[in-house]
Each structure stands twice: as structure tokens, then as C-alpha cells.
Amino acid sequence: MKIKFKFLAMLAIAATLFASCSSSDSDNDPGVGTCYVVNYGGYDGAKSSISVYDKESDILTNDHYETVNTVSIISNVQYAYNYDGNVYMMGNNADQIFWVDSKSWKQTANGLEDDIIKPRYCVADGNYLYVSCWGGDIWNDITLSYIAKIDLDTKKVVKKIALEGGPEGLAVVNGKLYAALNYKKSIAVIDIDTEEISYIETQAVSSYFVKDNKNNLYASQVSSYSTPSTETGLAYINTTTNEYELYKLDGISTSYVNIMSANDNFSKLYVMTSAYDANYNKSGAIAVFDTEAKSFAAKNLVEGVSGINGVGFYDNKVCVFTSPSTTANGKLTAYDTDGNLIKEYETGISPKMLLEIK
């Protein structure tokens, strides 16, 4: 290990020397509109890694963070969020929020660990970052969870807003913070100014939001082990009225990762599902939701995907992540919008989300 560290340290010195010879940070700037893949990594062994996609050369390169920073990530990144020149990463095991420059991916400051327990997801509003935190073993005690409010100047938690029910996905609309609750059949609505909490009752627990171009929300409605439900699918939340409407879909993914992604004009939502086939094998699929017709297409975009782990949309392609295990490289498979396979790329361990930095 010492040898390895010395080697990495030498690499770091060498990288610094070379960097100092260059005129700017542009060597590390992959350009506007670059897309990254967040690989969750193994929970016990190798941690998260970042892959970078070069659109020009059509090459996905793994270990981008490690290459830039000369050290590896020491946490499992649950979610990454691009805001105001930084990419904020919600790391659990070890729990921390750390951030890198969104162009260079260089980390220069230490991550935030105080008052952060099992961070899940985040969203920014003005100078504050709101982070959903489980707060501990949420499956044993749903009252542990909270929203951490982080001052982006001081990078410190300035407030912990207690919110029971295991908040996951977050969205900010009209001064309200919407929180998808994964252990309670409701969606929390927090007034950002007063911090008053109201709830929208749902027929299943939720895990993830996608905000459409009219600032309304789609929320996944899933059946979980602790809170089973037959009323699963996509919930549509009109954020003006907070009315709830369910578009049923069996087998919508219970995963905590990016299970939904919209195309650029938000006419289509690609939704990850999984179900047992006739041979008792579980296989994944991507269902397509037409946001105008408010209905799911009769035919899935792709089916029979083994180890499905996330979905993203980039460059007019539907990117499906697959991960066989927490010890093996995963895969990004790009499809066109008709479901035709375009190309496969090897990622790091357990790829789960696509992050486009425009």
C-alpha cells in the first residue's frame, strides 16, 4: 500500500509539474456539454469512480476523478449535482458531501461531513443546497431523516429540517421544496421560507422526481419491501394545485438510482422497470411515457436488460446502465429513440447516473 501511495504521490507531483507548464486548466476541461457517468462502486471495496464521455471521439474514459486528482474517491456517490460551477456529490459510506470544479473536476477543498448522515440527493435554491439525509437506519426508524440546509458560501450545514419518512428525490418549485418520501406514502412539501411542512398523500412510496418544462413534477410510485403497494407507476404533481394523479405502471423500478430521464423537449419520459420473466429471471426494461398523451407506450423501448441500474438521456440517445455486481465493471448501452442499439461502453463499477454539464 505504501508503495502504491508513493507511486500515486509521484504521479501527483508529475501531474502538478506538467500542469504548471500548461497555460491554463483547459487540459482538464473536456468542453461544454460534456457528459459524465457516476459509478457508485462497491459498498465494501472499491468506491465510486467517474467516467467521462468524449463526444468527438465517442470514447468513454473511466477513472476521470482519479486521473485529475491522483487519488481515488473514498465514498459511494449516491447522486451528483451540477450547480454554479461545482459538481456536488452526495457520498455515503463514508458519509460526506464533496465537490469539484465542474470544468476541471479538481477537488481543492475538503468534503463536508458534519451533520451529514446518509445523504441521498440534493437540489439548490439560491445560495443554499438542500440535501435529503436518511439520518441513520431509516428502515428501523423513519423519524431519523431530515433535510440538511447547506450555506454554499461557508459550505456548512446551517439547519437540519426534520422530515420523517426517508426523503429521497428533491425538487424546488415556486419557493417550495418537494421531497419524495421512500418510507411513507406521501410527498412532503416544505415552504422554504417558513419551513412549514405539508404533505401530498400518495398511493405508494416515491423515490425520484423529474421536473417538466412547466415546473410540474413526475414522481416514481414504487412498491417497496417495507411499504408494499399495487398502485405503482408515475405520479404527476401539479405544483400549482399540488394535485396528484397516478399513471399506473407495473414493475417500476424500486432502485434509488436514476430511474427516470426525460428527452430534451420533455415530450418523452424514459422509465426503468423490472419484472420476472416466465423463467423466473428478473429482467429490466425501459418504458416510454408520452407526456402529452399522458400514457405509456404499449411497447417498451428495450426489454430483457439484465442488471439494469439506471437510465439517462444525452445527445438524443437513451443511455441504459447495467451493472452485474458490485465488484465488476458495468456498462453504458446507448440506444436511439426507437430502441435500436447504437453502442456499448464499459464503465466503472455499478454505473447509475448520467451527468451532463452544459
Partner: protein, 661 residues
């Protein structure tokens, strides 16, 4: 590091060759004992001379071509204060994936931890829910001997012995009078062991009580390489392991009755309670210094056996009860518990001096109580029928056949035969060379978790199937001054339907891969005299090439060495004894290891050097005191056995043993 290892290895190999032999008698622990002082070689074809320990004799008799090793007494004694993990990793060419004393799993011949059974009497200790044993929780203080079968042993042990089997042995001493032992041991990082053994008997009836208490704070220092202080450019620092405490206690009570030399009744009860804080990886140790994750195991293991060998048809009737309970994070609501009732009966018939057979049946009823299992799962029955045939064809050749068919409730188990032979190539006055071979099928029934865990378990999983081929040579040497053996084994092992939990939008067990393991094992042991001192040395080396041949998942590691299986590993040990003082040194080399299917995060190779010295004071005819000091990892090697988990540097242990009678 490799060079150091080679030098040390050469020293140990060469030194006996220049030693001056003196008169001395050493008995091999192997059944192929050689009696040099009688100028006569008693080879593999002669009577099994072991004490009634764990019936290695029987194991060997009916598996003539299998490789079954017993750990030499001196080496066993040196590790009495530790766990099975320390004993195996220091004395045999076996790889274990370990943390610092809290969790250790075995990789015998490149197989997975649930491919090696750990046996106490007729009880397979492996967890029925997880399929494996924690080698750190098997205390050597309670046992007299440990035997290891390398390679498939399902025909003898049933499910789960694809890579091999470990047998924990208790000796029947048939004590006449009272004997007692008290032991106290203290070591680095708050390590303490207190043990006692009391033997009572009249030559026919015997009561043996063994008890121990072990604790360790495990607060060792190490270099934490997971530091990420970007503001000060610091990426490693000295750290201390926190919250990896261990507290284990156990008791074995034996009641044995000897009706005659041919008729015995034994009763063994083993109570064990093991508690530890699960060692956290370096990151968590650094970032969550107060984080504690306790795990507690409670076990009741009872095994009783009546043996009658008075007539031509010998028979044995045995029964057992096992209770296993695990509590994670002090959460007693989520019960993880199994109970087993076991019954076994067998008869053995010696048709003549050269031919014998054995047939038997073993039945068990298992009651799982696990919070995620369906309440419909009340119990599962398992019955195994087995038959063994031994034929000494001539003075040089003997062959064995074993057959086993298991039956499991609502589950199909494959038929597992094995065929073995041993042939004496030549036998001279002071040395003998034999060749042995074995072909064996093996299997593993998926664990209860694999089949019944929540809605993820899959009752339709296929059993894992193994095929094992073995060929070995063993050269035994003995003269008036030196005894020893050199053994070279080549093996080929194929495991199909290997079960892994894979991600399919949730975690599910699947028959995923086919794995092929092949390799060479060299084992030597030599008792000799060196400069007037009694010496005992050994060298073990293993080359294990284990590769995935097929995988149903998108694995980039097909055709590559498997994770946590070093291609090369070996150890060397030597003990010098002068009167009542002995001095031992041993070292171990482990090659680099992949830790996942990516080609990074590779564990560096490491070399560990250990030293011990002991002296026995004879107070009078009945009372003895033995003092032993041991220094581990003298070179203070910074190494990892499990990726991301710290291991201790140099550490010591001092023990005091008082024996009465």
C-alpha cells in the same frame, strides 16, 4: 519482497542438509508414520496409527487418494491462543481473506468460503443461512488437533465441501485420575485469553471440560491511506483502528465412556458466544470514529456417538443438535436463527484384512427462523445415504470408492461418487515413495438465504457442482536421526453453477459462473537434529490458478485470476528445541491479489515474519509451567488481506500455562 522470501525459503530448505543428526525419535502426525528407530518403514499401507481424534483414520482409509493433512503438533501448539484463521494461514498453504481478527473466510484451492466445510464431529459448522464459517471465531484453545482435506470432500461430508473440509478434533485421553491446565495469555492491543481444561476419569469414564475467554481491543496503529485532506495536501496519516473489539467465550464439555477398547460412547457439547464490533474500513474508521456495528453469534453444538467395533460388523450411531443465532447491530427483532437435529448411523464390515466397506445414512431436520423467510417454511429435511469401499489390492496398491446420494425437501441433489487410489512406487529401508490419485464429484445445496430470502431468494436455483481431479506424490524419509516427508500434489477443480448475488434491479442469487482452478501444492515437513538441537521444519508452497471460464454477467474478468486468490503463496516454519526450551520462526508470503473484476485495486503482495520462544519448567513430577512469547509481523509489514481494511503491524503475545498431572 519475493527475494527475501526466496532467501528465507532457501535457508530453511538447505539448513537440514548441513545439520548433524543425533539420535532422536519423532513421530509423524501423518497416518503414513515412519518408525525409523525400528529400521522398518511402516508405510501408507499399514495400520492407521492416530488416536481417536476426529476419525482422520476413517477419513483416510476410505479416501486413499485424497490429500488429508494434520497440522503438526508443534505448530498447532504455537497457535493455541489464536483462532483457526491464524493456525491455517501460518501452517498450511491456504489463503484466507481476513480483517484484523473479526472476520476471516477461507479460499481453499481458489474456491469460495462456502465451498469448504468446517466439521465438529458430524456437524458441519457452516452457517445454513450464509453458507460459510468465520474462521476468526473458531478458538484453537478448545481443540486438540485440526485436519484439513484438500479438494472435494462431498462424498464424505455432503453438501458444501467442494474445495475441501476442515475437521476440528478432540482427543479421547481416557484419563485415569485428574489432570488440569490453566492458561493465561496477554498480547498487544488489549489481547487477553484465559483458558482452563479439567480432565477427570477412571480410565473408563472421562469428563473433560474446556473453557476459554478471549478479548481484544484491537486498537492497533496503521497508516491510513484513505485520508483526503485536499486543503493541506495530506493523503495519508497515522491512524488507530477503532471499534473492532472482540469478545469471545466458549466451553466444550465431554463425557466419554469406554465399555471396552472396541466399544465407546462419547458426548460432546460445545457452547460458544462470540461478539465483536465489525471492523470498519479505513474510510469509515477515519470519518466515523464513533461508529460501532456489533455482531453477536451464539451457538449450541451437541454431538454424541456410540461406537461398537466388537464384531466383524462394526456399527456407529450418532446424533446431534445445533443451534445458531446471529444478532446484527443489537437488533433482536430481526431474528436470524437455525436449529438442526441430526441423526447418523453406519456399519462397517471388514470382509477380510484387505477388503472392507461401510454404509450409512445421515438425516437432519432444519428449522430456520429468519425474519425475511416465509412463514410457510417450517422446516427442511435432508437425508444422505453413503457407501464406501476399501480394497487393498496388493501390498502396494489400495483403492477406494465412495458413493453418496443426498435428498433434500423439494430440492434435487446430484449423486456424488469418488474414486481414489494409493500406490507404493518403491519402498527402501529409509525412504518410500507413493503416488495417489483421486477423482471426486461434489456439490453444494444453495443456502437458505439463496433460496428463501424475502422475495429475492430463488428456490429453483441449481446446486453448485464440482469435479475434482487430484494426483500426488509423497516421499517419506526416515533414519535414526531424521524423519520427514515431501509431498507434491497437482489438482484440477471445476465448479459449475457457481452462485452469486447479482444486480437485477435489486439483488438476486443466480447460477452465474463456471470456475476452473488448477494448481500445485508442495508440502514438506522434516524432523532432524541441528547442532545438537532437535529441529522441526516445514515448507509449503502453492500455485493456484483460478479463473472464471464462463459468466452469465457482463464480467470483464473471464479468463483472469479470481479475486482474493493469490497465484503464489507459501510459508516456511522451523522450530528448534533444546531440552525444555524451544524457539520457532515462521514466515509467510502471499502474492498480489485482485479484489474485484476491475484490473485495479489490487492488493500488494506481502511477507510476514513471526518468531516465538518457549520454555517449560518442570516444578515436580506432577506440575509444569510453560512460558511462551511470540512476536508476530516482526518486519512491521504494512499489508491488507481485505481491500481497504487495516491489519496490525508488529505485535506480541505472552502466555503462561500451568499443567497438573
Amino acid at each position: 519482497m519475493r527475494r527475501v522470501f526466496v532467501y528465507v525459503l532457501l535457508f530453511f530448505v538447505i539448513s537440514p542438509a548441513y545439520s548433524n543428526y543425533t539420535d532422536g525419535y519423532y513421530s509423524s502426525n501423518d497416518s503414513t508414520s515412519v518408525y525409523a528407530n525400528k529400521k522398518k518403514i511402516v508405510t501408507v499401507f499399514d495400520t492407521i496409527l492416530l488416536n481417536e481424534v476426529v476419525s482422520y483414520g476413517k477419513l483416510k482409509k476410505y479416501q486413499s487418494g485424497a490429500k488429508i493433512e494434520t497440522i503438526p503438533v508443534l505448530q498447532f501448539d504455537a497457535h493455541r491462543d489464536g483462532s483457526l484463521e491464524q493456525l491455517l494461514s501460518r501452517t498450511l498453504p491456504i489463503t484466507l481473506k481476513s480483517t484484523a481478527g473479526t472476520l476471516s473466510t477461507i479460499r481453499l484451492r481458489g474456491t469460495s468460503p462456502d465451498h469448504t466445510s468446517v466439521n465438529f464431529g458430524g456437524i458441519n459448522l457452516n452457517s445454513l443461512t450464509l453458507g460459510q464459517s468465520n474462521m476468526s471465531n473458531v478458538p484453537m484453545y478448545l481443540f486438540d488437533e485440526v485436519g484439513v482435506q484438500f479438494g472435494s470432500a462431498s462424498t464424505v461430508n455432503g453438501s458444501g465441501s467442494i474445495g475441501g473440509a476442515i475437521h476440528l478434533g478432540l482427543k479421547n485421553n481416557w484419563t485415569n485420575g485428574v489432570k488440569a491446565e490453566a492458561r493465561i495469555s496477554h498480547g498487544s492491543f488489549g489481547e487477553e485469553l484465559y483458558g482452563a481444561k479439567i480432565y477427570l476419569g477412571n480410565g473408563k469414564f472421562e469428563s473433560v471440560t474446556r473453557a476459554y475467554y478471549y478479548k481484544k481491543d484491537n486498537d492497533f496503529k496503521f497508516t491510513n491511506t484513505e485520508v483526503r485532506d485536499f486543503e493541506n495536501g495530506i493523503f495519508q496519516q497515522e491512524d488507530k483502528q477503532r471499534n473492532a473489539n472482540i469478545e469471545n467465550k466458549g466451553l466444550i464439555q465431554e463425557f466419554n465412556y469406554k465399555f471396552s477398547d472396541q466399544e465407546t460412547l462419547i458426548f460432546n457439547l460445545w457452547l460458544e458466544k462470540d461478539w465483536h464490533l465489525i471492523q470498519q474500513n479505513m474510510q469509515t474508521n477515519l470519518t466515523k470514529p464513533d461508529f460501532k456495528e456489533p455482531y453477536e453469534d451464539k451457538h449450541i453444538r451437541l454431538w454424541t456417538s456410540y461406537k461398537n467395533h466388537k464384531r466383524a460388523i462394526k456399527y456407529e450411531i450418532s446424533g446431534g443438535y445445533v443451534y445458531d443465532n446471529g444478532i446484527h447491530n443489537s437488533n433482536t427483532d430481526d431474528t436470524i436463527q437455525t436449529e438442526r437435529i441430526i441423526g447418523e448411523a453406519s456399519i462397517e464390515h471388514e470382509l477380510n484384512k484387505n477388503i472392507s466397506y461401510k454404509i450409512g445414512a445421515k438425516a437432519s431436520r432444519i428449522y430456520p427462523t429468519v425474519y425475511t423467510y416465509s412463514s410457510d417454511l417450517d422446516y427442511e429435511d435432508r437425508v444422505d445415504f453413503y457407501a464406501s469401499y476399501y480394497h487393498k489390492i496388493n501390498r502396494k496398491l489400495k483403492a477406494t470408492i465412495n458413493l453418496r446420494q443426498g435428498l433434500v425437501t423439494d430440492y434435487s441433489v446430484p449423486f456424488t461418487p469418488s474414486l481414489g487410489f494409493k500406490y507404493l512406487l518403491f519402498s527402501k529401508e529409509i525412504h518410500a515413495l507413493s503416488i495417489n490419485g483421486n477423482i471426486a464429484k461434489s456439490y453444494r445445496v444453495p443456502t437458505f438465504n439463496d433460496r428463501f430470502w424475502g422475495d429475492q431468494g430463488n428456490p429453483d436455483l441449481n446446486p453448485e457442482k464440482g469435479m475434482n481431479y487430484e494426483l500426488g506424490f509423497k516421499w517419506n524419509y526416515s533414519d535414526n536421526k531424521t524423519t520427514g516427508h515431501l509431498q507434491l500434489n497437482a489438482f484440477y477443480l471445476n465448479v459449475d453453477n457457481w452462485i452469486l448475488w447479482v444486480n437485477d434491479n435489486g439483488w438476486y442469487p443466480k447460477n452465474v459462473q463456471e470456475v476452473e482452478s488448477k494448481g500445485l501444492e508442495l508440502m514438506t515437513h522434516l524432523n532432524y537434529s541441528l547442532l545438537g538441537l532437535k529441529a522441526s521444519s516445514g515448507l509449503n508452497y502453492t500455485y493456484t490458478s483460478t479463473e472464471r471460464k464462463k459468466s452469465q454477467t457482463n464480467s470483464g474478468a473471464v479468463g483472469r485470476q479470481m479475486e482474493y486468490v493469490p497465484l503464489h503463496s507459501g510459508n516456511v516454519y522451523s522450530t528448534l528445541t533444546y531440552k525444555n526450551t524451544n524457539l520457532s520462526i515462521d514466515c509467510k508470503y502471499t502474492d498480489e491479489q485482485f479484489t474485484n473484476e476491475e484490473d485495479k485495486n489490487i492488493l500488494s503482495s506481502y511477507f510476514l515474519l513471526n518468531f516465538s520462544v518457549g520454555h517449560q519448567f518442570k516444578l515436580n513430577d506432577k506440575n509444569r509451567i510453560k512460558i511462551k512469547g511470540l512476536v508476530n509481523n516482526i518486519l512491521d509489514a504494512d499489508y491488507q488481506s481485505t481491500y481497504g481494511y487495516a491489519m496490525p503491524g508488529v505485535n506480541y503475545r505472552l502466555s503462561l500455562t500451568y499443567n497438573i498431572n
